[in-house]
């Protein structure tokens, strides 16, 4: 990946051709996602689309060089979700340029707009929308310029393959048309967008631009970055939260081969070494030499629901529209729980940092280069403009894993070794033991059914920690909390609805006449937590969609029919019926039918992510081994509406991945700990999905909505997959499992002999 190695200063960029000017908004993206813009007053102009609100200049997004090369800039990061390719498709489409003519620069505090975090399935909605409009407006500017040169009206000009074409056939290459400062103009709220019928690049399966390097050993990840003179850093983390480094005899370690420096600042302990395996050995020796004072007291992991119920809560009313239920209503209630869940990135976090001429550069796979930059600058007590964070890919993160912390670690070690780049690589045990987990949660729901078998009342409460402890503040970084002058852990905040944190998707999409939804926000965090893919939506959708099946059963209605009875959004209805039809829901073999033992079950679930992003319905078939209790998904069919589809294969890839990852969370995973330490620190103690449990088949059907807004899809499958699996297991066994994970042991204990 070439941009890893190329450190462009602003000056260098400015000195180049084109007209890239930096004029980024400093809007803080303090939470998981930006809160939606305030409603415009009648006097104000309509808001700019997508992230143009934060970076309104066109040249923050698109640069056209004199040689015709086009560079797209995005503040979002490639996480393996294919965002580079999708954004390039959007830009090529609206620019009417050749796809191959375009390059893309991703999140870099020195070069791109501040788009906050690459999170919440926002990239297409924020950056995609901004780039779409910026590209369309750039094309308009180029057309106007060409029209002027040709002496005709702009309306008479057409564009094709990176050139404006005059009625007489003359071609004006974009590179020839662009002049300095020409693109340094504010975007306007409206753009002349292409007619979706003319789309060449949208809704097309363009191969991802990042894959070839990944499958041929190219330099694809921050882990692969080896600048000259690079040293290897390794951290020795405390044995438990809050442990204090009593003493460490470093004499023997200092003499080990390759050891350059041992860094100790309070309870932050690390070693910088010439070669990587020497660093591993030095780290092990240093760990063995360190004496810690442990004080932490972790809760009883087998009694999490009780813990959640006891913690002091701050109540947030999500929906409060309760009517008295009809007198003859049938009511049912249920409680659902989930444990702490790990991101479990396959590659432990890594970062490279270099302090040179008072400027600290950090190459990191953080999801938010600007907030991470802010945190690092504060921790290092450096001005923000002297710290630059450049995103370069890491292993998939699925939220806030160790990436930001590793960047902080690397920054501290780079300061200890000025001039030299220092690479910090976390161990497997550090990643699984220190990452902030997806929080444990509990849901209590009760509902009433009326005579017609419809929900008459819905009363829902969700208990949860925050789902974002990301940087900004320095105290969000582990290292900062263990320095001799530590930074305090930041105060947790709930992310407000409609995006929500613990209450994300707690507001059912279904039309219920009477609804109360309460978020009991728990500020105290006995276990380190933060954002895990889909935040609270996974748990809320698991709970709501499990409970919808319970209600359907109570009403004696087919689960799909029951959902349709409560849905009036036509797009939601179409997604539900598409998944059901493609799965063959109505014809599905019933348990006990010939060829299908009583141990097969079928499950269905649906949600619209955040009730704002993509719609996703999943039907699946599960086989439960009666003797062992092991549940295996046999087949899954998903339908998804992501608005205007950009790269259908990219959407399918995200949904397929979400189904399998969510299935793994749902069936196997929980972070384990004793009274002091995290004890699930490798794949033996934190097992996840392996190939033996992979379904026989999986289909994703995409409902394209030409010209409609992009709807983020990266997390849309997470919740429905969990509930579909749980519903299928309930169908197969006759038992409802409301506590996650639904392990073989739990199933076997319920079904008995």
């Amino acid at each position: 990946m070439s941009e890893i190695g190329t450190i462009l200063s602003r000056r260098a960029v400015l000195a180049g051709s084109g007209a890239l000017i930096f004029s980024f908004s400093s809007t803080a993206w303090a939470q998981e996602n930006a809160a939606p813009a305030a409603a415009p007053t009648s006097a104000a102009p309509p808001p700019l689309p997508g992230s143009l609100k934060q970076a309104p200049f066109l040249d923050s997004w698109i640069r056209v060089d004199a040689d015709g090369a086009i560079t797209v800039f995005t503040g979002k990061a490639e996480l393996g979700q294919g965002i580079k390719t999708a954004l390039l498709q959007v830009a090529a489409e609206q620019l009417d340029a050749n796809f191959d003519q375009l390059k893309i620069v991703t999140a870099d505090t020195g070069r791109t707009a501040n788009e906050g975090y690459t999170a919440g399935s926002h990239s297409m909605q924020d950056s995609g929308t901004a780039i779409m409009h910026a590209a369309a407006q750039v094309r308009q500017l180029l057309v106007a310029q060409a029209a002027q040169r040709a002496g005709v009206q702009p309306e008479q000009m057409t564009t094709d393959s990176g050139a404006v074409i005059a009625p007489d056939g003359r071609r004006f290459g974009y590179g020839d048309l662009v002049a300095s400062e020409m693109l340094h103009v504010r975007a306007s709220p409206q753009s002349k967008l292409k007619d979706p019928a003319q789309y060449k690049y949208l809704n097309r399966r363009i191969p991802r631009v990042d894959i070839p390097a990944k499958v041929t050993g190219g330099e694809a990840y921050v882990q692969d970055f080896r600048p000259d003179g690079m040293a290897h850093g390794r951290i020795v983390r405390p044995p438990s939260y809050g442990a204090v480094l009593d003493s460490v005899d470093t004499a023997a370690v200092e003499k080990m081969p390759g050891v350059i420096k041992i860094v100790r600042d309070g309870s932050f302990l690390a070693v910088v070494v010439e070669r990587e395996f020497q660093a591993v050995e030095a780290m092990r020796a240093l760990a063995a030499a360190a004496r810690w004072q442990e004080s932490g007291k972790l809760p009883d992991m087998t009694a999490l629901p009780a813990l959640l119920a006891e913690l002091p809560a701050q109540d947030i009313k999500v929906i409060d529209q309760q009517q008295p239920a009809p007198a003859n209503a049938k009511t049912i209630a249920a409680t659902f729980t989930r444990p702490y869940v790990s991101h479990g990135s396959i590659g432990p976090s890594c970062a490279v940092a270099q302090l040179k001429d008072d400027v600290l550069t950090v190459w990191t796979h953080t999801q938010g280069v600007y907030p991470d930059r802010d945190a690092i600058a504060e921790m290092m007590r450096m001005p923000k403009d002297k710290v630059r964070c450049i995103h370069s890919q890491g292993s998939g993160c699925y939220g806030h894993n160790g990436a930001d912390d590793a960047a902080g670690d690397a920054a501290l070690l780079a300061r200890a070794l000025p001039g030299r780049p220092v690479r910090v690589q976390w161990t497997r045990e550090q990643e699984l033991g220190w990452e902030p987990y997806g929080p444990a949660m509990m849901v209590k729901v009760n509902a009433a059914l009326d005579d017609s078998g419809k929900v008459a009342d819905w009363d829902y409460t969700v208990w949860s920690n925050t789902h974002s402890m990301r940087p900004g503040p320095a105290g969000a970084l582990i290292a900062a909390r263990y320095l001799a002058e530590p930074f305090p852990e930041p105060k947790p905040f709930p992310i407000p609805m409609p995006e929500g944190g613990g209450d994300r998707n707690s507001n059912p999409i279904y039309k219920f006449p009477s609804m109360k939804v309460l978020h009991r926000f728990l500020p105290a965090m006995p276990i380190r937590v933060s954002a895990l893919r889909s935040l609270g939506a996974y748990m809320n959708i698991f709970s709501i969609e499990s409970f919808m099946d319970e209600l359907a059963a109570a009403a004696g209605t087919d689960p799909v029919e029951f959902r349709l009875k409560h849905l009036d959004d036509p797009r939601a209805r179409e997604v539900v019926s598409t998944a059901a039809e493609r799965f063959g829901w109505s014809a599905k073999p019933r348990a006990g039918m010939p060829g299908h033992g009583s141990n097969y079950g079928y499950g269905f679930a649906f949600a619209r992510y955040k009730n704002l992003a993509a719609y996703c319905a999943i039907a699946c078939e599960v086989e439960v081994n009666h003797e062992t209790g092991r549940a295996r998904m046999v087949r899954a069919v998903a339908a998804v509406d992501s608005g205007q589809a950009v790269n259908p294969d990219g959407i399918a890839n995200q949904i397929e991945g979400a189904i399998l990852q969510s299935m793994s969370w749902t069936l196997y995973e929980n972070v384990s700990f004793d009274d002091r330490r995290i004890i699930s620190v490798d794949w033996a103690t934190y097992p996840i999905l392996r190939f033996s449990a992979v379904p026989d088949s999986m289909e994703v059907h995409i409902i394209n909505r030409p010209g409609l807004p992009f709807l983020g899809s990266g997390e849309a499958g997470q919740g429905p997959a969990a509930a579909a699996v749980a519903n299928a297991i309930a169908n197969a066994t006759g038992y409802r499992f409301r506590d996650l994970p639904i392990t073989a042991e739990r199933i076997k204990a319920a079904i008995g002999v």
């Binding site: 399966r205 894959i211 041929t216 990840y221 497997r428």
Partner: protein, 159 residues
């Protein structure tokens, strides 16, 4: 000591206890084999030794003198991809892609031994390797596609 990597002899100046992974990545600047766990539990570091898959993170170079080591780089390049690489690109069989080189090398070992391995055999064979993005369906598809590419090429040669 001398190591034979991708059909070339390399003089490696490293402690013989060094796991192969660090020599590949640090000394030979080969990127494909990845550090995933250092424990032989995830397969991200998989390379071939005499055609068989090994976890390079737990294999000291002391064990490898005189043996043929093959990494993903040894199979093909972006310009001239090997069948398994072509198949993974065509199947778009990656999300973050971090586990993929290990998956490919493990699959490559199977295809070299048994190009006709069936789906069940492929799944069982891949059991030691972990993927967190959930790209499993595509990985399987890509391996079947690689089989097809290899068979087609063989038929072409035969004809």
């Amino acid at each position: 000591m001398k190591l034979n990597v991708n059909n070339a002899q390399h003089d490696v100046d490293a402690d013989p206890r060094t796991p192969l992974l660090y020599v590949l990545r640090g000394d030979l600047k080969l990127n494909a084999a990845k550090f995933g766990c250092g424990l032989g539990q995830c397969g991200a570091c998989t390379v071939l030794v005499n055609g068989e898959p090994v976890f390079s993170c737990v294999t000291p170079i002391a064990l490898l003198e005189g043996k043929e080591i093959t990494t993903l780089e040894g199979l093909g390049t972006e310009e001239k991809p090997a069948p398994i690489q072509q198949a993974f690109i065509e199947s778009q069989a990656a999300q973050c892609g971090y586990c993929i080189p290990g998956m490919m090398m493990r699959a490559q070992a199977l295809l070299q031994k048994n190009p006709h391995a069936g789906d069940a055999e492929i799944r069982a064979w891949l059991e030691p390797n972990l993927c967190r993005c959930g790209s499993h369906m595509r990985i399987l598809r890509a391996i079947h596609r690689a089989q097809h590419i290899i068979r087609t090429a063989q038929r072409g040669e035969a004809g």
